[in-house]
């Protein structure tokens, strides 16, 4: 370092531009930090945005040109986004996914509210270990209980002579594991929020005529709206993005019309199966798969744009609890 500064002061004229920059950065470290910041920024932007760009490139390149593309689309075929819906009933796959996510979110918010009330507002022995145990569930690898769950949902487990219900291919087979996996985070978020609502407000509600449950839903939940929104949005996104059970707990079939969803419980393949439906035994329609992926990302992207402020404030509010 000393020698570098020595050189720097020795003769500026015969140094290259890089050496000169290094010299000035040493005298002014903020410059180096700024440079590193831009390096990191470019790196993260590239790793997050390039896959999306690549999807777009794949999607708009006509099928026959797919063999030779480099960084830019080879040809331009925007019709692919309509073709997606013509080839398979992709809108029904999407609707299935949205419905599954909404149902799971509703179940999670309801049950996690009850649990969050208990963990956040009541004192009882073993509260902390129990909370840890619940959080541990969310880190459990789904692969570990896939086989038993599959046997259970296909009616192959008998307890006292009664076979388990055949839930394979129904929404239940997906909603149940989703709820179990994504519940712990919501419980954690909601318990910190509910714990911050003053005791007096709950007492007041109970004296005024609610039960404890009534106080939870009429006073504590509305006052914890940012927390409830955070838990809800995170659950929704997690379910919508889920791969494992979405792939394995159904046969990939969907109803042929929107009304068909309501009438049958057997056609609940989510978005993921919709993308995979372009992969047939005769070949893979990569441009359609890419277009379908882009369409599939849209609802979550919109949700995040709308709710991101709430999510961030919700997460930090929990973290900053004094």
């Amino acid at each position: 370092m000393a020698t570098e500064t020595g050189q720097q002061t020795g003769g500026e004229a015969d140094q290259g531009p890089f050496t000169r920059w290094v010299g000035s950065a040493i005298r002014n470290p903020a410059k180096a930090y700024r440079a590193l910041f831009y390096v990191a920024l470019v790196f993260f932007l590239f790793t997050t945005l390039f896959p999306l760009y690549w999807l777009l490139v794949l999607a708009v390149t006509p099928q026959r040109n797919l063999q030779d593309i480099f960084l830019t689309p080879n040809g331009f075929n925007p019709g692919v986004f309509i073709e997606v819906f013509e080839t398979v009933p992709f809108h029904i796959y999407m609707l299935n996914s949205l419905l599954l996510a909404v149902i799971t979110t509703a179940i999670v918010l309801l049950l996690a509210s009850l649990a969050g009330y208990v963990f956040g507002r009541l004192e009882f022995p073993g509260r902390a270990p129990l909370m840890l145990a619940i959080l541990a569930i969310s880190y459990f690898p789904p692969a570990a209980f896939l086989v038993p769950l599959f046997r259970l949902f296909t009616g192959n487990v008998a307890v006292a002579g009664i076979n388990s219900p055949t839930w394979y291919n129904t929404p239940g087979a997906m909603v149940m594991p989703f709820s179990a996996l994504f519940m712990p985070l919501s419980i954690f978020i909601l318990s910190t929020f509910y714990g911050q609502i003053p005791e007096g407000l709950e007492d007041a509600a109970r004296v005024e005529g609610t039960t404890r449950l009534g106080a939870l839903f009429r006073v504590i939940m509305p006052l914890s709206a940012p927390g409830v929104a955070t838990a809800g949005v995170l659950t929704f996104i997690a379910v919508y993005n889920e791969f494992f059970f979405s792939f394995l707990m159904n046969d990939g079939q969907v109803a042929q019309s929107i009304l068909g969803i309501v009438s049958s419980s057997n056609h609940w393949a989510p978005l993921l199966q919709g993308v995979l439906a372009f992969q047939t035994q005769y070949g893979s329609l990569y441009n359609l798969m890419a277009a379908a992926s882009i369409i599939g990302v849209l609802p979550v992207a919109i949700l995040v744009v709308v709710a991101q402020e709430k999510i961030v404030s919700g997460l930090t509010a929990g973290a900053l609890k004094e």
Binding site: P198, G200, L201, A204, R206, V207, G209, L223
Partner: protein, 392 residues
Amino acid sequence: MGNVTLEHVTKRYEDVTAVDDMNLEIRDGEFVCLVGPSGCGKSTTMEMVAGLTKPTEGQVYIGDRNVTNLPPKDRGIAMVFQNIALFPHMDVYDNISFGLRLRNYDKEEIDRRVDHASDIVQLEGMLDRMPDEMSGGQRQRVAIARAIVRQPDVFLMDEPLANLDAKLRVHMRTEIQRLHKQLETTVIYVTHDQAEAMTMSDRIAVIDSGELQQIDPPLVCYNEPANLFVAGFIGSPGMNFIDGDIVDDGFVADKYEVEFDPSRFGLSSGDDVTLGIRPEDVYPVQNAGRIANQSKEIRARTDVLEPMGNEIFVYLVVDEDAETDLDKPGSGGRLLMSVDPDSDVEEDQEMSVILDRERVHLFDTATGEAVQHGLVEASEFGSASAQAEGDD
């Protein structure tokens, strides 16, 4: 209707007994204050009446119903909280009508009652405000309106004025009294401020360490405290206490001598007693002309004066070597005297004072129980306290 009875009510938490075998009988329409120092169990007692806390033992009755196991909403009570506890996400109208809406009253009835209640607490024209747009006093009035709108049998008020500033507190004190007169509903009022209790209530229940010490009208608690705790708690500043012994012709302590015949009060020579005397019953000798029953003179030096306007508190040093009363209550080394504002007293002045024997209280030092109020009985002078005792 609105009478409240507590029978052997006890509340134990893991390591502490918050309320210990409390028996209380509150009549319909009565205004009763529960007073005591922080942590004495008065709030727990109220929570058990409200149903927010379940007693470990004992029964709670409201009216003729045993409500011990009923949830708060079914007890016919309304409560005003120390932290006011308005629902911050609802406007004033929704706050006041919350209980009525839960009970499915029809819209017109709700409107009529909300109007009436907001009329009583003077909240007209504020019904669409949010709680955070209101001042402390306004919020407290909304809380009171929320309580009266349901026409409960019993009002519970848990230090409702504690968070208000001093001036507003005095104002709201009168408001609540006016309200009680108007509604004629039973009120149970928790406070640690004995001045509030003295001025507002029909009867005061003094509570200490989870036990009921005395429940009587304010002036009885003041003039005839049941024990040392009540004597020290009621009245501001508190009573002077002097530990001493009974001898054949009265009470003696280091610097004090009060003559009386111990046998008349069931005392005998050698008993340990604590003498209690309120500051206003201590007189400088020169002002004591009209006091019929004086104790022996006590030599003292004035220490600090606190002129209050209508009276002067004089801190007297009776024994220079004794520790202060704060360090060791009952030593008798310090004595607090209240004199007229026009009295001729200065700091660091030697003077003699006397105690009014009619107003002296004697307590058993060991148990703290009151032995005698006033050392002159009815047959001799007809003092007020002796008469009251005769009535019993």
